[in-house]
């Protein structure tokens, strides 16, 4: 009881935070409300009502179902729904006529068979990965419309009229949703993808920055900012988000600095390289745990070079993120990355010469060596990212 009350009290605060984190959410909610209210006019005004009758509710339904957060998603759903309705409506009508041929008794058997075959086939096709990614919703609507048209046709012979009404109300609903979505504060999936990819690279830079400080901090230092170090975790799991954004982005028309045929696939490539880099960083992260730490004296020896490697990569990665954001050639980034490569080589060389003479126990340096070579891996990963920007 008390727990429920506590949750209820926390609710307005959570709502506020949700809106503050991304104000576009509030705008989107208002847009949905607006579109639905607009379409409700279909029911409201007498003359339209006469024309469409009960089918008018399809318009409301279409708006509710089709209206998504980004323009690309809305367009993809709307076009899928519109096209599937038209095709399935035509085929359904054909099935209805076909079932009529053998007379009263054969009709239900043929209809049942056709519906069964169609539904099974389409459900199976939905398992195709390419189909699932792009046309899943269209296939669903296809099954639905086909069943409704062909079976309801059995009842009354106004099938054509019904099909016409369904198609036209869905078009009205779909267009209302798309127009509101595009012309009132549009939210572009393409822009989201663009920013996500750039931010992910920035997250890696943040981690490396924090890592340098954390790894070489002396025990007296204050507990440093852990959140800085955990930003990269979201990068690890960004694959699905990036892929769906890229699919939506392909549906979007010309907007902002993006043209038709913008190379969305390139973003996926950069994204997967960024993730590869993040996996190395995940392995590096382990070296912050105390059990894995190298003795203080060895650490202080490699401190200078290591920090140089990481700070140059940080600069490079930040420049890269900036270059993606502003869509320029990342010449400054390449410079920094080259420098960090040199620093990484120096670090290895130094380990080889100076350290090698002094140490007696190889076991002690293994973590440091591993760290250094992971760091070098990160650098070469970021080089690959730079190449593909």
């Amino acid at each position: 009881m008390n727990r429920g009350w506590g949750k209820l009290k926390a609710f307005p605060g959570k709502l506020k935070k949700l809106g503050k984190d991304d104000p576009r959410r509030i705008i989107h909610s208002l847009k949905v409300g607006l579109a639905i209210t607009l379409v409700s006019l279909l029911y409201y005004f007498e003359p339209l009502y006469e024309g469409f009758g009960v089918s008018a509710m399809w318009a409301v339904m279409t708006v509710v179902v089709v209206f998504e957060f980004s323009v690309g998603a809305t367009l993809s759903k709307g076009l899928n729904r519109g096209l599937a309705t038209i095709v399935a409506g035509t085929l359904g009508f054909g099935a209805h006529r076909l079932a009529d041929l053998p007379g009263e008794r054969g009709e239900p058997i043929i209809l049942g068979l056709l519906v069964f075959l169609q539904a099974s086939m389409m459900t199976f096709i939905r398992f195709f990965p390419q189909m699932k990614a792009k046309y899943d919703y269209g296939l669903l609507v296809f099954i639905l419309t086909f069943c409704l048209i062909s079976v309801s046709g059995y009842r009354d012979d106004e099938v054509l009229d019904m099909a016409y009404q369904r198609v036209s109300t869905i078009l009205i609903g779909g267009f209302t949703a798309m127009l509101v979505c595009i012309f009132i504060c549009p939210i572009w999936a393409g822009l989201d993808l663009h920013n996500l990819v750039a931010n992910n690279i920035e997250q890696l830079a943040c981690f490396l920055e924090g890592f340098g400080l954390e790894y070489f901090k002396t025990s007296e230092d204050e507990e440093s900012n852990k959140t800085l170090l955990e930003g990269y975790i979201s990068v690890l799991h960004s694959k699905q988000t990036e892929e769906s954004l890229a699919i939506f982005a392909r549906w979007e028309p010309f907007h902002g600095r993006f043209r038709f045929g913008h190379p969305w696939k390139q973003y996926l490539k950069i994204g997967s390289l960024t993730r590869k880099c993040a996996y190395r960083i995940e392995a590096l992260h382990d070296y912050l745990n105390t059990e894995n730490q190298t003795p203080q004296e060895i650490r202080s020896k490699i401190q200078e070079e290591s920090i140089k490697v990481s700070s140059e990569s940080v600069k490079g990665l930040k420049e890269l993120a900036m270059a993606i954001k502003t869509m320029t050639t990342p010449s400054a980034a390449i410079l920094h990355i080259t420098r960090s490569k040199i620093a990484a080589k120096n670090l290895k060389f130094m380990l080889n010469t100076e350290l090698f003479k002094e140490i007696s126990d190889l076991l002690e340096v293994i973590p440091a060596l591993t760290m250094a070579s992971l760091l070098a891996d990160v650098v070469s990963c970021s080089e690959k990212i730079a190449e593909s920007v």
Copy 2:
């Protein structure tokens, strides 16, 4: 033109492969066909038709939309839809009565306002991560039903009748879908999750097995099986799949060896540890590339111990996967992992003593060292997995 024809010719082959990869897909498709044909009877038999009228199509629609691949997903969607319809139907009726109070002129204004507020609020609530994961579909249906009932109520005063019809047809459709889904060759999300988690661990074992062979192969050897080495990639991206399966699994009733309140969260924990291990393995994978390779003589020295480490981990991981599958305590697995830990320590010790005396160039061994210490990381990761099984 030629390309289109080629694609068309490849289509039947692809269909066959899709069915062969997972025969449950064919069964699922047939089940959907069956359920839809069953519900079409609602339209077909005269007496039922009299009772429900046009609303009968809601039953068809419910089946199409609710029927999902696994039992858990179907139940979750069906219950979401049923509950949302009942609640939103009641509230919609209330809104309709409320709007009636101020007379003919105020009605549309109040209705419009209510619809707008309701749609905006609910759309916003859908952004809550917890809501999105579990009740997203319910909220969508809520918006839809509320609009349909409250606005269509404006037209004719048979709202109650309409609400009753909609609720009852949806219940019929939902129950048909759920019954067919549960009683004809059910596909359990819980079982899928169970197998996925176990298989992911097995994939890691496969990689390590292949890695041992590949890393120490002499140049004369045949090109070995690369696919064995790439199974782990799917593990890296399994987070979302696991999470949605766990959500669905919670909706499922008692089945097989799974009871109510089965610890599905534990699977997520094991899954995330498995992924952590996979990230290390991704880093290890780099050491198969020729540019990173250690000279032959050094490799042959560490060969025996390294292979011992990896083969013991392989055995341990395989035992773990088996233990998860059969739901037994992984005592054999713990034994193997302890052994591989000892082997990893030996490997490090050997590197420290023997190798250290002979080598002149530390740079040459760095990759081998890093490899060894990543291997040790993998071992300690698998130890953590074993603890949480």
